[in-house]
Symmetry: C2
Subunit: 235 residues, 2 copies
Amino acid sequence: MFKVIGLDADDTLWENEIFYRRGRKLFNHLLSSYPVDVDVETFVHNLEIQNLDTYGYGAAGFVLSLIEAADALTKSRFSSQDTVRLIDHLKVMLSTKVQLLEGASGLVATLAEMHRLVLITKGDLRHQRLKVDDSGLAGYFERVEIVSEKSPDVYSRIIADCGIDPGDFLMVGNSLRSDILPVLEIDAWAIYVPNELTWSHETLEDLPLHEPRFAEAATLNDVPGLVEALEAQDE
Amino acid sequence: MFKVIGLDADDTLWENEIFYRRGRKLFNHLLSSYPVDVDVETFVHNLEIQNLDTYGYGAAGFVLSLIEAADALTKSRFSSQDTVRLIDHLKVMLSTKVQLLEGASGLVATLAEMHRLVLITKGDLRHQRLKVDDSGLAGYFERVEIVSEKSPDVYSRIIADCGIDPGDFLMVGNSLRSDILPVLEIDAWAIYVPNELTWSHETLEDLPLHEPRFAEAATLNDVPGLVEALEAQDE
């Protein structure tokens, strides 16, 4: 039996990407008042990836990249008022109440009956902490780990802090890049719960279908059954 | 003897506020091209404090507040180019190498000889982590705690994680509000090392001169002697 189950938060337990999509929609709407002659989608995506190293993950870096993109795309004609509308959207993102995904609270309660749980989420420290507190789920987790990158090393550190071996750890999340592949790399287990709204950056990789320590859940409701199936396989 | 010594980082071990001052200087310079009829200093300070709840501490929130202030102060005439100059300054802040304060590495090495050390810093998770790594001091600390607020509860949690009692914990830092008062409130010990460049928000409080578990160091070099003096007093 797994000793500790790690759960991702954004787009696994609660909505996140949807607020980024709304920001992009507002951005496209504002830009439509300016003559722009390059492909906006590609330009913004490339700038976001380029800035990731500087800003890290999170809403503030996202909106800062949009403001920078707006200046470049409009040849510095983007108005101060429109810039403030982007900042206002950031404030909405940072203060919006958590919207749990269907089945999230049931899943956490079910898993907590038999397992120690750790929430592992990346991004802005303050924003993630607020979301955890607002979710009403914090009490189910023995630890909340807010990290700036989900690398194999980071997972190894968390697993060591829990006092267990990687083989006794299972991670559940919607991002192949962050929740699944680094976990499999250190010989722990992973259940992938795809979310139709996942940032493309997080889903670039191929499914690790050859991995025996991997399973894919169609919905959150399927996770407990898959946990049992993987546990049976481990025996 | 104290079992664990906590050290603040920004403006205690390395330069921080100086980069904010430079950002404000750039901001004032950019604003000087626009007609502005209110007190800029007060307006910006109030907006920063007002936004603290949304952005938390850190360089990104600081620059976002400057951009918002620029729009308000110039009645939406602030140019997109000038906005990008503020964003460029943010990128410099986020990528600047750590500049250790005089005596910082000697102090940490000296304290580490006799005590377990914990680095406790607030602000942006990714930026703080980069600074810790860049400082070359990470190896002296058994834990690095990056928190979004330094409250008595947060200190209590860290002290509990170290497996000690508050009476066995001493904190060293430059902020009365963040490093000293919350620590004294939970009956731990504190040494205040004032830095001439400390954000006014952090120094609003009166010195707790009546507190027996408190001392003030004129420089970092005076800290080890004061640690010994407080330890003698504790016996």
